[in-house]
């Protein structure tokens, strides 16, 4: 570091300096007062409902259905009917065109969806607009192209659809996770019953309107809303041939137990506790941006979030200093403001979990840092947090927090970094920061994780397979490999589930 850089580094951020508000227009979305379940191409009046809110303001947005087992069964029956009487018999080129239509309509309506996603989920509009929506549309585009090329993806294996896929998605990337699930399932010729997360049903319900516009045959995609009880009913339904679940490891294990002995196919994309490993030769400013993106992106509500920072001892001080300084410039607040970096915590329940784990970190002896920031009074908020002095055994170094909380640990040698990074039951993702290409690959070989990012983090692409090792689940989403869970083959399976 030169003397000049050192000086700049220490220059305090002006306290009274702020961006003028740049709110995205809320009016871009028109919501109904009440939504039913989307079953067989029509709206099924729900027998029970609950209110879905904006976590940033606690403002009620709409009444949505809490699906009963009977309503879930109705959706499964509609999916079965569509599978047997039409969808699986339709030409694959036509199937592809439906997916292209969906992709295009999503692109056209991207702004509307982005606003809704931020409104119902609390994530910054910047992210909904620049990450969730473009990737969701790209996912449909990517898999549209596979629909009529399956025999090239799996030569000599006679790929066939599985049947009815039951899909349960989380609240952190509602529409993007919907696209990760629905696009490959339809491309492979299946029909779908999708259950969005309890707290974020609205983008999936608006997606039903995209399906209508695309003139997708009725029953090919069915959407039922509700809490875990609706998900459990879907898992238990004997009419479902395959379950795809993204969510917590705890629920994933329960689903695996439930399906034991049934022979039904299963893929699980579960939790993580990713290590983000910074070597002393890394470009530090770039790495600090990567650390911030790794853990504060989407309020840390990311299964592959870089929640454990492993810093090489020799650069511990400058990295922590730069990181804390960068934290003071993060703007926390209104998700619909285009300047916002960190939005609202998705739900009261999640906020409680974050608080509880952060308290445990303080009690166990870690040192907490939170930048001074004014959090809104209404809604669910948590300031970006860094823990230093963290031991491997602390809960904040072992358990998934799923919030904007980073635990900093150190290492001396690459071997030690590998050892520490792998020392968790999870194995979803990892990050490596170094200027040395050979070291990137050396580390990548040894990290027991399904995705390894080098000199970047939290980057996704529809062509890039994503999924975990160990207790982070099995099966892949994205890429050619992402089709496999939705196909039956001659000569057996090629990956777990």
């Amino acid at each position: 570091m030169t003397e000049l850089e050192r000086k700049q580094d220490r220059t305090p951020v002006p306290k009274e300096w702020a961006y003028a508000p740049a709110p995205e227009s809320r009016d871009l979305v028109t919501l109904d007062d009440r939504y039913g379940h989307y079953v067989g191409g029509t709206w099924l009046e729900p027998s029970e409902t609950y209110t879905t809110i904006s976590p940033a303001t606690e403002e009620p947005l709409a009444e949505v259905g809490q699906a009963t087992p009977e309503e879930v069964e109705a959706a499964v029956a509609a999916a079965r009917d569509a599978f047997e009487n039409g969808w699986s018999g339709i030409s694959t080129a036509e199937r592809a065109k439906y997916l292209f239509r969906i992709a295009r309509i999503l692109q056209e309506r991207a702004r509307e969806f982005a606003v809704l996603e931020s409104l119902n989920g609390g994530k910054p509009i910047k992210e909904s607009r620049d990450v969730d929506l473009p990737l969701a549309a790209a996912h449909f585009f990517y898999y549209a192209g596979w629909a009529d090329k399956l025999e090239y993806a799996f030569p000599n294996r006679r790929p066939r659809p599985v049947g009815v896929a039951g899909q349960i998605i989380p609240w952190n990337f509602p529409l993007l996770m919907l696209s990760w699930k629905i696009a490959p399932a339809l491309a492979a010729g299946n029909t779908v019953v999708l259950k969005p997360a309890e707290t974020t049903p609205l983008s999936a319900l608006l997606f039903a309107d995209v399906l209508r516009q695309a003139e997708l045959p009725p029953g090919v995609v069915n959407i039922v809303t509700g809490d875990g009880r609706a998900g459990a009913a879907l898992v238990k339904s004997e009419g479902v041939d395959k379950i795809a679940f993204t969510g917590s490891t705890e629920v994933g294990k329960a689903i695996q137990r439930e399906l034991a002995g049934t022979g039904r196919k299963l893929t699980l994309e579960l939790g993580g506790k990713a290590a983000n490993i910074i070597f002393d030769d890394a470009a530090l400013d770039q790495a600090v941006e990567g650390i911030v993106n790794g853990i504060y992106f989407n309020q840390g509500h990311v299964c592959c979030a870089g929640s454990r920072l492993l810093v090489q001892e020799s650069i511990y001080e400058p990295v922590v200093e730069k990181l804390k300084r960068r934290l003071t410039t993060l703007r926390v607040g209104d998700p619909l403001d285009k300047n916002t970096d960190v939005g609202a915590i998705n739900s009261e329940e999640q906020l409680e979990r974050i608080r509880e784990l952060v308290e445990s970190g303080e009690q166990e002896g870690a040192e907490i840092y939170q930048p001074p920031c004014r959090l809104p009074e209404k809604g669910y908020w948590f300031a970006p947090t860094v823990f230093t002095n963290v031991a491997q055994s602390y809960r904040i170094a072992q358990e998934e927090i799923f919030g904007p909380v980073l635990s900093v640990l150190t290492f001396r040698t690459p071997e030690e970094a590998v050892e520490k990074a792998n020392n968790t039951p999870y194995g979803l993702s990892a990050g490596v920061w170094t200027e040395k290409g050979s070291r990137i690959l050396w580390m990548a070989e040894r990290l027991r994780a399904g995705v390894v990012w080098a000199n970047t983090f939290n980057r996704f692409d529809p062509s890039s397979p994503f999924g975990g090792y160990k207790e982070s689940g099995f099966g892949r989403e994205g890429g050619r490999h992402g089709l496999e869970p939705y196909l039956n083959f001659d000569g057996g399976e090629s990956s777990g589930g």
Binding site: A138, T249, G252, K253, A254, Q256, R257, L259, A260, G261, T262, L268, L270, P425, G437, I440, L441, A444, A449, G450, V451, V452, W453, A454, N455, T456, R459, D461, S463, S464, P465, F466, G467, Y469, K470, E471, S472, G473, F474, R476, G479, R480, H481, F489, G491, G492, E493, S494, S495, G496, G497
Partner: protein
């Protein structure tokens, strides 16, 4: 003159490249012989040894792993007469040898068939490679005693995993003979561990063991739902294969896929 009375040995387990007695001291009778009856603690020892042996096997070059497996096929063929007596006959032995040769040839082709490079948007070279899942517990089918065991164990080995297998309960002698062949082969000690005994007794411990990554229930009879439920404790990959199949997808079911985003820049 009276017929000569043969010496009669008690067959042992195969753990960590050695032939220990069951720590329990128990045996059971099968095919007219006394055979070791492994206990929960033997299963635990086998998993520990497999975990320790695994990195070396996984870290070998794929070419090397293929060579070691090919050598194993040679060794089984040279013991054809013994294996023929302990299995259903010469045909089973020949098919076993051919199957190992076939899998040996897969070791250095898996990455090309199962992996991919992925055209992502952005300055990254993105690729996906198959990797071994780790320690695999296998419940071998009762029959065919040799080919059934080999058809389950060798795909897992080809992919670079370490194995703890429970041999055919009714016909364990072929497995013990296989252990003799393995012990003198180049397969590192601990990479394949063979337990004889009562499957029902051992299976639950292996299914719920937190350091086992995958469970092959091909040979499980009846109570497999219970085993699958136990396997969920650490999200094991559960495989129900065919007692007599030969397919690269059998290898793939014991593999993980790793995707790497490598930066591209000047």
């Amino acid at each position: 003159m009276a017929e000569r009375l043969p010496v009669k040995k008690t067959y042992k387990l195969f753990i960590g490249g050695a032939f220990p007695r069951s720590e329990s001291g128990r045996t059971y009778e099968a095919e007219g012989q006394n055979v070791g009856r492994a206990s929960r603690k033997d299963a635990r020892d086998a998993v520990r040894v497999a975990r320790a042996a695994w990195p070396k096997w996984a870290g070998m070059t794929a070419y090397n792993r293929g060579q070691v497996l090919y050598r194993l096929a040679e060794m089984i063929e040279s013991r054809s007469a013994e294996f023929a007596e302990l299995s259903t006959g010469r045909d089973e032995v020949e098919r076993t040898v051919d199957r190992i040769v076939w899998y040996a040839g897969w070791a250095d082709k898996l990455a090309q068939v199962l992996g991919s490079s992925n055209p992502v948007a952005g300055p990254y070279f993105n690729f996906t490679v198959p990797e071994p899942t780790g320690v695999v517990a296998i419940l071998a089918p009762d029959e065919p005693p040799l080919l059934g065991l080999v058809s389950r164990v060798v795909p897992a080995l080809t992919g670079g995993n370490a194995v703890v297998a429970v041999a055919s309960e009714t016909h364990p002698l072929a497995a013990i003979e296989l252990a003799e062949a393995l012990a003198t082969s180049d397969v590192p000690g601990g990479v394949v561990n063979l337990l004889t005994g009562h499957r029902k007794e051992l299976a639950p411990w292996l299914a719920s063991h937190m350091d086992v990554n995958a469970l092959d229930i091909t040979g499980a009879e009846g109570a497999s739902a219970e085993l699958e439920r136990a396997a969920a404790d650490n999200v094991k990959r559960v495989v129900r294969g065919d007692p007599d199949s030969q397919s690269p997808w059998e290898i793939a079911s014991f593999l993980e896929l790793k995707t790497v985003w490598h930066p591209v820049g000047q």
